[in-house]
Symmetry: C2
């Protein structure tokens, strides 16, 4: 139930919203083509790969937020396009590095960059994208004047630091198997890891280019903060609810990776002692290296079993070898049954509904904060986009 906005603000349908983002995406891809060096031996080994993720089916949400905020405040489209492209470069560089760090296999309905080209190349392509992001920030000086260009750079600098901090927190939780966390720990982590670069910095940059006052920038930041948390929670929900065809990542990938989500944290909190202990045991196990295919060790163990049945191996040798294989070659991996247990736990405790309620609260807060900006803004499709975005963030199916 969306809260009513001022009369100035007609709502934007989901279709119009997607059109708005698609238009921004087209403009940003044009900019990107101008930034990335073209032709030459470096194309197949570096610069073509820069385009891999951006050219896959993507929403280009971040550029759209920057453009919409800028234009809603009467700023010029041309003034914000270079910065929007920088945001897209950072976003995709982070995706590439995150996919390596999380061992993810699917991104936007296709194999992740490191799955396709190897980890070394993927890390380097990410670094190249971060390098390419510097020049447009410098070019901003000519377009925006010194003051605004420097403030945009500063916003990007803070964003990059916050994102790395958020990622560090999440990695530490995963590494240490720390599940003694409160919701607010999770909310702070996703605020840093996702919120800054998905909503806060895009909105602030849009505002900076449009010449917003300090107070307006602060309000924009609060609006974007609320929206960012809602967005990430919905992302976690989609991961549990969708099949890969619809969502573009692995179904239940978060459970396989043992990712900390509000949903799983809620389920663990509600679980009885025995369930909880079993779940923590599962979460302590790694995901198998190639999900869906038996691991090399599994193949060997399978063959070993067959040879034992054919009496080619004594019982003693069979025992010893299977144990050795399990202990030396392989850590214990999560199984389909394990992941199914976690999923059932989430269902049993209605944890998705709980997460949905938290996301909805954040979305309502975002609407109130946007509403508070409404009086200074005239009606425009850009403002309608921002309003529509609030519903989209929590209702989207991809």
């Amino acid at each position: 139930m969306p809260i009513e906005m001022g009369q100035l603000l007609p709502s934007m349908s989901s279709g119009q919203l997607l059109d708005y983002m698609a238009e921004c995406r087209g403009l940003v891809l044009e900019e990107l083509k101008a930034i990335v060096p073209a032709a030459g031996e470096l194309q197949p080994i570096l610069y073509d790969l820069v385009f891999e993720y951006p050219m896959r089916e993507a929403k280009a949400l971040r550029p759209a937020v920057a453009v919409a905020v800028c234009r809603a405040f009467g700023g010029p489209l041309e003034g914000v396009l270079k910065s929007a492209t920088v945001l897209e470069l950072y976003h995709n560089a982070f995706l590439i590095h995150d996919d390596v760090e999380d061992g993810s296999e699917l991104r936007r309905d296709a194999p992740t960059l490191h799955t396709r080209h190897g980890t070394p190349v993927a890390i380097n392509v990410g670094d190249a994208m971060l390098a390419l992001a510097l020049q447009p920030l410098l070019d901003n000086v000519a377009d925006l004047g010194l003051g605004r260009a420097l403030r945009v750079m500063e916003a990007v600098s803070v964003m990059a630091r916050e994102s790395a901090e958020g990622q560090a927190i999440e990695l530490a939780w995963t590494r240490s198997g720390n599940w003694s966390l409160r919701d607010r720990d999770y909310l702070r982590m996703v605020h840093k890891k996702t919120g800054w670069y998905t909503f806060i910095t895009p909105a602030v940059i849009g505002g900076l280019v449009a010449g917003c006052t300090q107070e307006q920038l602060l309000r924009l930041r609060l609006f974007a903060t609320a929206l960012g948390t809602a967005f990430q929670i919905q992302d976690d929900i989609l991961n549990l609810e969708s099949g890969p065809g619809r969502y573009g990542k692995e179904a239940w990938g978060d459970l396989w990776e043992g990712k900390h989500t509000l949903i799983l944290m809620h389920a663990l909190r509600c679980a009885d002692a025995e369930e909880r202990q079993h779940a923590l045991g599962i979460l302590g196990r790694a995901r198998p290296p190639h999900q869906g295919h038996p691991s090399p060790t599994e193949q060997v163990v399978e063959r070993l079993t067959a040879l034992y049945q054919e009496q080619q191996i004594t019982h003693r040798a069979y025992d010893e070898l299977t144990q050795l294989l399990r202990h030396t070659v392989q850590v214990r991996y999560k199984t389909h049954e394990d992941v199914r247990f976690l999923h059932d736990l989430v269902q049993r405790h209605d944890s998705i509904a709980y997460a949905r309620r938290v996301a909805a609260r954040r979305a309502r807060r975002a609407r109130l904060l946007l509403h508070a900006l409404d009086p200074v803004l005239g009606a425009s499709e850009h403002l309608s986009f921002l309003d529509g975005l609030i519903d989209f963030v929590v209702d989207r199916s991809h």
Copy 2:
């Protein structure tokens, strides 16, 4: 045999040179401490790790080059320190990511960051360092004025791109097993991968801060280009000649990794068809995952052999299982014998002496180019440092 410089330039001993670098290092570490957020939960999982490589025994060559060039041209020390720290941040971020990409195990006499903290953390720490490098570049505006600060940023932007391009070229050669390369391909690759961020950008930034003319900057760039190639060739030589205690990396690590060096390229060129084919076969194999320790598979095969000897396993089962283990669990790895073969090949064809000659030619060129700058520069310890650096680069033992 160093070429004589003008009388204005007394040479600097190796000890004085190291003192000069140590002093620069101390100043840069102070700056770094001011830049990196201190205290709080993020220290053990992120910001302490930022200091790991810089606090190990390191020369801080890049900051020293920037400082020496700046001061030789009469520029202020304080003006160049922030940029020198940015160079150190980039350098160490690249080291961390390169170590992951190359699968290196030792860096500066200690385990590499990913060996100690895992690949995900290592990638993220590198990204955080790239993020931290942005703020001091912005602070330069207050210290240097707008024009110079922007040109320094531009220099860093070009540097980051060139480094990623160099890395892309090297990774592509490794991945495709391409050894049909000319010396000039190698020289271009190391120019991009190492030269830009080790000498060219430090020298250019020093010159920019000191207010050098365009022509002086061009000469500095040529000087640094020659020096950079000489430096990398000497690095390759050290890798083959030193034990780990002295050099800080694995002895013969480049051979284990199958890295493209002038030395190995020369040896392959001189080898007869049979030697060459054998060497290429070796270079096509991966390095074993944990050098020095038997791999898990090797342990299993060892146990399998013992059980076969005890007649716990039939011959057929033994054959089948060892073959299966070799094929499914393990790709074929380089052995100590393989690496010894490569090393012998290099010795037999005097390839180290060849590389030394190429490096010496580059060093002589660097001296001539520095000499050409001499008349505009007064005698100073900074100029003496740059002169002494030329000998140091090709004579150093670490």
